[in-house]
């Protein structure tokens, strides 16, 4: 990087920092954290939730959005149960927050570990993570229909679907596709989304339902091909990602004839018993994070659905998502035996 770039970069961040320092008192009315805030990630280092948490930490400290430091702590044990239990036990402690992935719903349902989102206080939905059906670019399948027809023609247990973990979002989507298309995959669980993408490039599996950010590098390099996205509407990003396609050019699975949709919550929760002012503080904090250029760029790079919610609207969404997960997991036979 040449020097002029460096100085421009620094100058810009200074400007932003000064701007926020001037604006800060305006927000300083209600409650504020009194000691360093622990930001729990119920997943391992390097995964999607961890990346988002560390970006948030970076954006917040870079722009001076908080007076107290934010400390990211990974508690990944038991498919994230460790992290959720830690927050459940910290009832009434406003200096702790947690970022969620779908394991907020799937882990208690699949393992019977005693926690529920109702033990926590919902703060805000930051974004929704998308899922895309990917195949190796060297295969002849151009559309989701081509591929699923081939899977159907081959008979059950011939095509291999790779995914992250077991009885979690990737396998739930796989089961949903199987039901919608009347096919049967061999589902192979791996530890992380990056592993899955590389296994697909190496042709050790036939397809995956990776998040955009997990597979985008291989897509741009012409190794993987996206077939459809599991959302109601197409992703809104129209900038070309490869030479010919943008995220917007990927059809929804419904358009492609596979009536399945699934998005993953990237949301923030606090321990139970938080007061209105405490929740408002964090809602406000994340609203300001959403305004920053770094966050916007991160959203576009990962092709996130940027829906933001808080308050009763968010609680209602979480309630509905829990019911959906319970339904999907019951149908798939993934519920823990009592």
């Amino acid at each position: 990087m040449d020097n002029s770039m460096t100085s421009r970069f620094t100058a810009k961040s200074w400007l932003v920092a000064v701007a926020f320092a001037v604006m800060a008192p305006a927000f300083g009315a209600g409650w504020e954290p009194t000691k360093p805030v622990e930001f729990v990630v119920p997943a391992g280092t390097g995964g999607g939730a961890d990346q988002m948490a560390r970006l948030l930490q970076g954006v917040i400290s870079k722009n001076n959005l908080m007076k107290q430091p934010l400390i990211v702590v990974n508690k990944s044990g038991g498919a994230g149960a460790e992290g959720f239990l830690a927050i459940k036990e910290a009832k009434g402690d406003p200096n702790k927050i947690i970022i969620t992935l779908s394991n907020l719903f799937t882990t208690p349902l699949a393992t019977g570990v005693p926690f529920n989102w109702k033990d926590l206080t919902p703060v805000a939905m930051l974004a929704l993570d998308q899922f895309v059906l990917w195949v190796n670019a060297e295969t002849p399948y151009k559309t989701a229909k081509d591929y699923l027809d081939a899977v159907k023609a081959a008979g059950p247990n011939k095509f291999k679907m790779g995914g992250t973990g077991s009885k979690q979002e990737d396998q739930i989507i796989t089961v949903a596709i199987e039901k919608a298309a009347g096919v049967k995959f061999i589902y192979i669980p791996f530890k992380g989304g990056g592993d899955v993408a590389v296994q697909l490039v190496g042709k050790h599996i036939d397809s995956s339902v990776n998040n955009p950010i997990e597979a985008v590098a291989q897509w741009r390099a012409g190794k993987l091909r996206p077939l459809c996205v599991f959302d109601d509407t197409r992703m809104p990003y129209k900038t070309k990602v490869t030479e010919t396609m943008s995220w917007y050019d990927i059809p929804t699975c419904k358009e492609a004839g596979v009536a399945t949709d699934y998005v993953m919550l990237r949301g923030i929760f606090m321990p139970g018993g938080a007061t209105r002012e405490q929740v408002d503080y964090y809602v406000d904090l994340f609203k300001r994070v959403r305004e920053t250029a770094d966050w916007k760029k991160f959203m576009e790079d990962g092709a996130f659905n940027t829906t933001f919610m808080s308050g009763p609207e968010y609680t209602k969404w979480v309630e509905k998502a829990e019911t959906t997960h319970r339904e999907l997991m019951r149908e798939a036979g993934f519920l823990a035996k009592p």
């Binding site: 990974n74 508690k75 044990g77 498919a79 570990v113 973990g165 077991s166 192979i188 990056g194 790079d301």
Partner: protein, 497 residues
Amino acid sequence: MVELSALFHGFSVVLTPFNIMLMMIGIVLGVIIGVLPGLGGANGVAILLPLTFTMPPTSAIIMLSCIYWGALFGGAITSILFNIPGEPWSVATTFDGYPMAQQGRAGEALTAAFTSSFIGALVAVVMITFLAPLVAQFALQFGPPEFFSVYLLTFCSFIGMGKGSPFKTLAAMTLGFALAAVGMDTVTGQLRLIFGFTDLMRGFDFLIAVIGLFGIGEILLSMEEGLSFTGKTAKIDPKIVLETWKKLPRYWLTSIRSCLIGCWMGITPGGATPASFMSYGVAKRMSKDGDKFGTGQIEGVIAPETAAHAAGTSALLPMLALGIPGSPTAAVLLGGLLIWGLQPGPLLFVEQKDFVWGLIASMYLGNLAGLIIVLTCVPLFAAILRIPFSIIAPVIIVICAIGAYTVHNAMLDIWFMLLFGVIGYVFKKLDYPLAPLVLALVLGDRAEDSFRQSMLISQGEVSVFFSNWLVGGITALSLVMLFWPLISKVQSRLRAG
């Protein structure tokens, strides 16, 4: 020679006063992180990652990767001086490094460790410079059966080399597998062996077991022996570095072998820990002094350190070229790349030339700077052993406890550490080997996952482990390694008869 000109361009990117300062800071922080057990390279980098968001990406990755090199160097220090591996990949270094320190040869062991670390890293960087695209393709050949065969090879190259009863080795290894099975099972998504205790669901962390088994266990033994600690007779002489260097060229074959094992394991990505164990096992089998391994052989320090560093360095290659991390620290760095707006993957080498070649150039310079820094400190480190044991032991216990706590921020882990300390003491008293337990604990669940993934892929056909030349070759090699003691016995009998 496109690579060479690109590399020189990389050097020109790196060689600014600001970047060199960051490099030095990174190395020193890394050594400290490596020395403190439990903190570990991955955690250290994760903690410092947000600090780098305001820097340009090239400077940020230079500092973070230097922390990584520093941690690789630092891990050897406590292993040799106190039998406490600061990092998983330095466990194998304790086998001969600690006996050397006890014999008053700490300076020699440290010099050998640091120098071979440097050589391993250098070979790996040269490979990254010239073979990156080719090697990255090779990593794609690795599916679950290939991974399992690599783990099998690690276990097999280690089995049968123990001096004591093979059944004791087997018992220790089985206990390791049992401990590794506790917690979440990736393949079924169920919790195993937690008996209703939610605290057990994160499983037994390797680091806590190692801190207890080696560190606390050793202190218990020393206490029984009346607080005697022969290390204090160590002579402290800056010349020790040069004297050791004179000895090292003799072991060139071990070095080359270890470099190859290390590079291969780094790329595949098996990682530095299996590399160090496998390299130690192979060196013991191939060396003419193999029987004396474990009593303070300098070769027993060279082999694991060379391999660990070669693997740790080459682990960055699949991360850059494919976006798969070859080690936990690489996984955190990968997250950093994404946050700085760089997409790791096949196009990174094309689109971000400054960044990639700057990083590769910083690997050369960072390792060189690291070597100089740690070597000048050898007499200082060795001098630590002159402190009376009655003073240093409580300090070690406190550091161990902090380390065990840091892994998961859990008090329970300190109790586990003490429990493992007692187990380590009992194992030594009854002459059970600790190494197979540790090996099984660190690789057990990964081996199990890849075995069961293979079984899913092949729908239960074991023949999948011989389904192509690559996996078939590795599996066959492992079986040869496993039965080597038998084979050599039969051979010698035939010759005698």
